[in-house]
């Protein structure tokens, strides 16, 4: 899909010493109408075919996100950081990548994984508590979802640099949150990427809260995208709820990276509609009126209005997408109600490429413990199966006697 969207790179190259405009770059506004040349900064609207594809992916991703949140509330998962309301950032970024590119996601980016083809049970293995990460990283070219903030941005820069050293065309894209930009690793990643001119794209999803702390307590500059100037790379401030704009700018940045023009920092302004996770209480730090206001800027509804006004979204297309979303939700429910196969002895099996005798001893100790436990359970079961109530009563005094 990424190849369908080609533009003149020279016309759009931003000056590295100029701050981005303070109004977010936008191609389709909140009413589903195309914006003027100033708001779009000259970026052409992706084709209707591309937009329809993005719409389909966003609808399916949202259904998945809602389903997983519901399953978490039912106690099927230990936790789930929702990306509800952030679908435009998540889906546009992934759609702009080629199959050979690498994605470095955070814990909030499960729907990006879904969109890149990872099966629900593999995405959710970590949130269910089966193992810390559950998908094949090389098959999907997706690093494990990072929990320590901004650490994965450096991994993305390193991988992109390796690609450059090998003269490959692979690009790395990493997601960051607004709060993560306060971390030292974010700074180091931006700086290393710029110094090494690494083919990497930083997509900062500014959802305006780091758990409870608003952005004005994270930084004193006006926008996250402003920081790009300080590193000597292009920065874009984008309406993160406009999937057309996000797709156009990320595609531009990916093309730039692939052509050897180095890294780009993109800030997508969006909003976290859900709580941070199921253990969070957002009523303690933000007004529900603000949440309602942002629900009115919904990325899916906006694109839907545009597609309908263009006559590009038929009733049959919509029901087809809804059916696909429901099918995925059902499959997700099904796999999360199935018990995962857990082998405690696997705890020891993956840490080292070179086996260690001392760890083998600990593995054996746990194996013996499990065997003893299983034997005890077995004899207990045998005992209670053989003992009738009368026999059990008859045995009771004898046992007491034996102890006294």
């Amino acid at each position: 899909m990424a190849h369908d969207y080609v533009m003149d790179l020279t016309a759009l190259s931003a000056s590295l010493r100029t701050l981005p405009p303070s109004q977010p770059l936008r191609l389709i506004d909140e009413n589903g109408l195309r914006t003027d040349a100033e708001a779009s900064a000259g970026f052409p609207l992706p084709s209707t075919e591309i937009l329809l594809g993005l719409y389909r992916k966003m609808v399916i991703a949202r259904r998945f996100d809602l389903q997983v949140t519901a399953l978490t509330r039912q106690g099927r998962l230990a936790t789930y950081p929702s990306a509800l309301g952030q679908e435009a950032c998540e889906i546009a970024a992934v759609a702009a990548l080629d199959a050979d590119d690498w994605l470095f996601p955070t814990y909030r980016d499960s729907i990006a994984l879904l969109t890149r083809g990872v099966a629900p049970e593999h995405i959710l293995a970590s949130f269910r508590g089966d193992w810390h990460s559950g998908y094949d990283n090389y098959e999907h070219r997706i690093a494990p979802q990072a929990t320590p903030l901004a650490t994965q941005a450096l991994h993305a820069v390193g991988l992109a640099t390796a690609s450059k050293l090998k003269r490959d065309k692979t690009v790395a894209l990493t997601f960051l949150g607004d709060g993560a930009t306060s971390e030292g690793d974010a700074h180091e990643a931006f700086n290393f990427a710029a110094v090494w001119q690494a083919p990497v794209v930083f997509v900062v999803q500014n959802n305006q809260f780091a758990i409870s702390v608003p952005l004005d307590k994270q930084m004193h500059c006006q926008m996250i995208a402003d920081k790009a100037v300080g590193y000597g790379m292009p920065g874009y401030f984008v309406d993160g709820n406009d999937v057309a704009a996000m797709y156009a700018i990320v595609t531009h940045a990916v093309q730039n990276a692939r052509s050897g023009a180095g890294p780009t920092l993109i800030e997508g302004l969006t909003y976290r509609i859900e709580a941070h996770t199921n253990s969070d209480d957002p009523t303690r730090y933000r007004a529900s009126s603000e949440v309602e206001e942002w629900k009115g800027r919904d990325p899916i509804a906006r694109l839907e209005k545009y597609l309908l006004s263009e006559g590009a979204l038929s009733d049959s297309e919509r029901s087809d997408i809804d059916a696909a979303a429901e099918k995925l939700a059902a499959a997700t429910r099904e796999c999360m109600t199935r018990e995962a196969e857990i082998d405690p002895l696997e705890l020891f099996d993956h840490l080292y490429a070179t086996p260690r005798p001392a760890l083998a001893e600990q593995r054996q100790a746990l194996a013996d413990e499990l065997t003893a436990h299983a034997d005890a359970e077995l004899s207990e079961a045998a005992l209670s199966a053989s003992a009738t109530p009368a026999a059990a009563q008859a045995q009771a005094p004898a046992q007491t006697g034996a102890h006294s």
Partner: protein
């Protein structure tokens, strides 16, 4: 010159190390090198020569880079300067900027980007300029380098070598003499090794670079300029095994890195007094070679551990606990720890009072009840 550059302090009791052959860094970058691809070159065996540990490490990196085109090198001042200890001397001009590059001055960035490179199939060898300057990389090392393979069920393995010059006895100013091995050895997922002589330095670094597991390679700074007659390339005992450097019957002295010299000197001194000391060079701190060390302690029935790091919660505690658990009924006396004091590493004029000496080891041993 960076903020991390060691300024040697003149006038201290201990000799100030000097690089063996100071080289003039080339102001002109080397010619662009081709992209990383396979080559068939193999290093030839060189004639025996007197080599320093720094030169042996340098040769190990050079030979590894010649053998394996996926080995890349980066860190602070490791390019034209050749590193503040000259361990990477000449490699920039030999292999070019593609494979040997100065990085921005940020240790988390160095280790974090090495992780990404390793995911993509390279074998990064990175340098932390000094022990105490590795701490900004702590999170990347502990949360990612150590855990990535386990987290991904072995799908992603990180063949990274993190070289850390460590320990004191060089007249270094503050933050230039830490022994931080216990931070790394208490982290599952890391292999932690430390050579004590030039031959091991070469062999162990080659093995570390070839290993699919991440290795914290701790280089004792005070031994950088120690020399030995060595024919390179050389293969010594496998990296994860301890070695009995001197056989004895009365006491086992367990040492590693900078304190191996102390242990050998102690044994020499003790021999004059009729005490037979067996000296073990652990070489690998994680994994710990239970087999070799236990066998020695069961033979001598007395053991002491020597390290520069502070005692409380230090590596010696693990050694003593392990040996006690496994060999208690073979012991004639409690296992001793002769270590740095539980204080921050002192300034140059005071370090001689801090470092374990043969006299201090012997007087500790003499306090045992000898029947």
């Amino acid at each position: 010159m960076t903020a991390n550059h060691l300024d040697s302090v003149p006038g201290t009791a201990l000799p100030t190390p000097t690089p063996p052959t100071p080289t003039t860094p080339s102001p002109v970058p080397p010619a662009p090198t081709p992209p990383i691809s396979q080559t068939d070159a193999a290093p030839a065996t060189r004639a025996p020569a007197s080599v320093t540990m720094a030169a042996a490490l340098n040769a190990a990196i050079r030979d590894a880079m010649t053998d394996d085109p996926t080995v890349v090198l980066f860190g602070e001042d490791i390019g034209p300067l050749g590193g503040v200890f000259r361990v990477t001397d000449g490699l920039y001009s030999e292999f070019g900027e593609t494979r040997v590059s100065d990085s921005p001055l940020a240790e988390s960035g160095i280790v974090g980007t090495a992780i990404g490179m390793a995911i993509y199939g390279l074998r990064p060898v990175v340098e932390m300029q000094f022990d105490a300057f590795s701490y900004p990389a702590f999170q990347q090392i502990v949360s990612h380098v150590a855990k990535m393979r386990n987290r991904t069920k072995g799908r992603i393995t990180l063949p990274i070598v993190i070289r850390i010059p460590y320990a004191g006895d060089i007249g270094g100013v503050e933050h230039h003499s830490d022994s931080s091995e216990a931070y790394w050895t208490s982290t599952p997922g890391l292999t932690v090794v430390t050579p004590s002589n030039p031959a091991d330095a070469y062999s162990m670094l080659r093995e570390a670079i070839a290993s699919d597991d991440p290795v914290i390679f701790m280089e004792p700074k005070s031994r950088y300029w120690s020399k030995a007659e060595v024919s390179l390339p050389i293969h010594t005992t496998p990296m994860t095994r301890a070695e009995v450097l001197r056989e004895g019957t009365d006491v086992t002295l367990i040492s590693y890195g900078p304190t191996v010299k102390t242990a050998l000197a102690t044994a020499e001194q003790a021999a004059d007094e009729g005490l037979s000391i067996e000296v073990i060079d652990l070489r690998s701190l994680s994994p710990f070679d239970d087999e070799t060390v236990s066998a020695s302690v069961r033979k001598t029935s007395r053991a002491a551990v020597i390290h520069e790091a502070a005692q409380f919660g230090g590596y010696g505690a693990e050694v003593a606990a392990r040996l006690t658990e496994r060999s208690f009924f073979h012991l004639a006396a409690p296992i001793l720890r002769i270590t740095g004091f539980d204080i921050p590493y002192p300034s140059p004029k005071l370090e001689e009072f801090f470092l374990p000496t043969p006299d201090r080891v012997l007087s500790a041993i003499e306090k045992w009840e000898w029947s």
